[in-house]
Symmetry: C2
Subunit: 210 residues, 2 copies
């Protein structure tokens, strides 16, 4: 297997954390999206969507989507389970993972991509000709995260991790999203102490440093 | 089990198609989001995110997310598999399902929610106080779908369904998204004959009528 990665981008970071939690090692290649390497002919042949990460399997199959890569790794390396064990738990992990993704990860990306100068004309990823920024999305993304924080806090008041007592991909997605949002000065509010406790705890895991 | 559903909304339609393909029956209750029933105290106790659908399990667990509901049903009713069989296939289904969701379903929703008068002040779902429409998103969503169509067409030139020879949740998501986009007059372009063939074929399945 080979992972196409970029160490400074949040999306491949989710996959790197997942791999680290599994305790496996996969050779990787850097695709520097700040230098537009994702639009090269070589990379486009690997992933026509021009986004990172991509995992290339030994049979040549290209998995060009973070959660699809995690799903594959979960199947071939089931321990420790990061996507739940049993029907109910798998569904609960999926629910929190998607909540963290839609209201967290996508909202953080919305805020950053539509404001930061480095994303000028890159309002969406993977479009060679560029996509104009929409300034109104900056505040909307910020407000979406503002609504998410107390929901996560409430869940973490009664649970060690988002989907219960076990660390899962839902924690990875939420952690990477909140850390990424910090680049736009979005912080966990002071009235969310359970979320702050969880964020500090996840940040101390070795996987958070990869 | 009990499904909170709304027959006119696309998100619960994904779950209804999934249930019909599994050949199972689940009692359901209508939550009319056009009449703001998702914001009632009763429903908020079931799903604090104030969106439909929600599946309530016999032990009281509330799964308030379409794909989480499908994941649960896939686990307890594995036949026919709609989320893949084996590590590689599961990952490929996940990849196409997410592509259909991010560039199809979310883009269609973006276009409709930010233009249609019925969505005035409902730019995002599930927010009791409302979210203003952002007119610039109408064209952006349309362009995103315009980029998706040829990708799906290319995949369907070589495959009967999006993830290969078997019908899966990826087809459900893409079909519901494209059908939903029709409300904004977004149509499959004439230079995508494989996609048109697939769309007609999926539309003839009994599950497309539920």
């Amino acid at each position: 297997m080979k992972l196409y990665d970029f160490s400074l981008a949040p999306s491949p970071r989710r996959v790197r954390m997942f791999i680290a939690e599994k305790g496996i090692e996969i050779p990787s290649v850097q695709i520097n999206t700040r230098e537009r390497q994702q639009f090269s002919d070589e990379y486009r042949a690997v992933n026509p969507n021009c986004v990172v990460p991509t995992l290339v399997l030994d049979d040549g199959t290209c998995l060009g989507e973070s959660v699809a890569i995690c799903r594959y790794l979960e199947e071939i390396h089931p321990e420790p389970p990061l996507m739940g064990r049993g029907a109910r738990d798998k569904a609960i992990v999926e629910m929190w993972s998607r909540q963290a993704e839609f209201e967290g990860y996508l909202a953080a990306a919305e805020t950053l991509r539509n404001s930061a100068p480095m994303f000028e004309d890159r309002g969406l990823p993977g479009v060679p000709g560029g996509v104009p920024q929409i300034p109104a999305l900056v505040e909307r993304g910020r407000q979406t995260m503002g609504r998410l924080f107390p929901k996560l806090d409430l869940q973490l008041a009664a649970n060690r991790f988002l989907a219960g007592e076990a660390f899962t991909i839902a924690d990875i997605t939420a952690y990477v999203a909140i850390d990424f949002a910090g680049r736009a000065e979005i912080r966990i509010p002071v009235d969310c102490p359970n979320l702050a406790r969880w964020f500090a705890e996840v940040g101390e895991r070795p996987s958070a440093a990869v």
